[in-house]
Symmetry: C3
Subunit: 220 residues, 3 copies
């Protein structure tokens, strides 16, 4: 039995808040690179909404909500404005922002996976686009500031909770158990998993310590 | 009353010229990075047509004209060839190229915004894709040469005229006033705005001078 | 007379093998950058399947096979796992991997061009997306490791065989001669062209030796 996908009855405030929180990290990166105010706004927009834009392009949901939803765009740009004027204060609130960012990650993954399933892309593709919804903004942020994506190298459990949460969502959907409540539980799980991993310093394995190949920046 | 979008009766020469001019800047970047001839051609193509490709992907207009229009592709590649052989001379014509580039920006923004409106993406999305049509090529050029996008940090008024022009186009369309003539006037406005800002040294605010957060290249 | 596009009767093993080989190079790049295991897997996925994802987005074939095909995704991730554990040994097999990579290039180009033609994007667009299918993964790999794409600067004949092969495929299709056999012959041609160019040290022209413009990393 396949239930229709039930959208998470998300308070708008919640979704806008998630975009705002994710966008803060983009604005801060721009500040650290001494970007001008336009750069700060673009980075906030790209970081807050880039994951969803990537998702929408991949599942064929054009135009992406990241360019067509007034409220989402305003939420991201508002984060840019706040960062531009108050970043010294926000740098000091680092820990608080990390917690908010974990919440945004959790929400993005569930919303993204559900939207993928809704568009009929299949279970695995939905898990991938759900994960990309959560982590894509940060990757785009790093590319636009000419850094290799932090998420690929910092060994933190950031993508892992995302993949786990997206997979659970896909399984719940396949079994017909995807409701607002199970979505909410999955959000809480991702959020908690991320925070616990930070608290306890869990990491994924770093570079494997075989004899390193050394030289060679060549193609192959 | 909503008039159908009237396409700007653009001389083909004009559009091809705009792509050619924009592509020059990509070829020059490739030369400065000591790319080979293939790299010069790719950079010319990506810079001249990348903004439009991005726009077409976002509004669902696949395949993008940047890969399907013979004339546009040839115009971009021709700029690459010219740059490859004559770049020392062109480096000295810097001022002239900046003027041509401003013209290309103006044209791209109007064409891009109008196409977005034509595809029914809504006013704000059309303004965003119009702006991206104008600035996207330069961003792609910088990413492909492993630089943080200049437009995010150089404080010049490059994106601002684009956003203003795209917004005017969207308003004209909503009011049913978008004709070849009003489009032409908007192009002239963007072009003039950009040149005047260059001439008078107008800038957007740079990094805000609060106490800088200093350290921390971390995620958040 | 236009024949329907006949798909190359490709052994699944062949296609999965091509993805696996291409993905190896992504995993190796990640290792050299000291990415963690998640980074190695993402780089393997992006390098093995990124060209095809780019192609599918450009021709409107969403969701791209690079996120929806179990077998392809598993093949790419398997390469990442192999690289993670055995990269010192694989670094020493460099020459063998280059040969395998040439085979993957050849296959990708034919599959990509044919899919473009199948989607009715026109001859030139099909040649472009076919070429991008072959080279796009490597470009994405370099961007994700914060390098300027090697293919734009190393003067090797990598893109040239791809473009030649894609063009031949397009012409064969237009003439109604595209069959499994002519596709196979074109694959052999690209593969041989690439290997011969490596063996004989053929290169494309590097930076043109006019007086170099020197300074100026400015916009234009």
């Amino acid at each position: 039995m396949i239930l229709p996908v039930i959208e998470f009855p998300m308070d708008d405030v919640l979704e806008l808040g998630a975009v705002f929180c994710a966008a803060l990290s983009g604005g801060l990166s721009a500040i650290r690179k001494s970007f001008d105010i336009f750069g700060v706004l673009v980075l906030a927009w790209a970081t807050g909404l880039g994951g969803g834009i990537l998702r929408d392009v991949l599942i064929g949901a054009t135009p992406p909500v990241g360019i067509s939803s007034w409220r989402l765009v305003v939420a991201a740009l508002a984060a840019g404005v706040v960062i531009y004027f108050f970043h010294p204060r926000l740098e000091r609130m680092r820990r608080g922002i990390i917690v908010l960012d974990a919440g945004a990650l959790a929400l993005f993954v569930i919303v993204g996976t559900t939207k993928g399933l809704d568009y009929g892309v299949g279970l695995m593709a939905a898990v991938i686009v759900g994960t990309l919804t959560g982590i894509g903004g940060g990757v785009l942020r790093d590319l636009l500031t000419s850094e290799a994506p932090l998420i690929l190298q910092d060994r933190q459990l950031y993508a892992v909770p995302a993949i786990v949460g997206a997979s659970i969502t896909a399984v719940l959907w396949r079994e017909g158990w995807l409701t607002g409540w199970t979505q909410l539980a999955t959000i809480a799980l991702i959020f908690g998993f991320r925070l616990v991993s930070l608290r306890l310093g869990w990491t994924v394995p770093g570079p494997w310590s075989g004899r390193r190949g050394g030289a060679g920046s060549g193609r192959m």
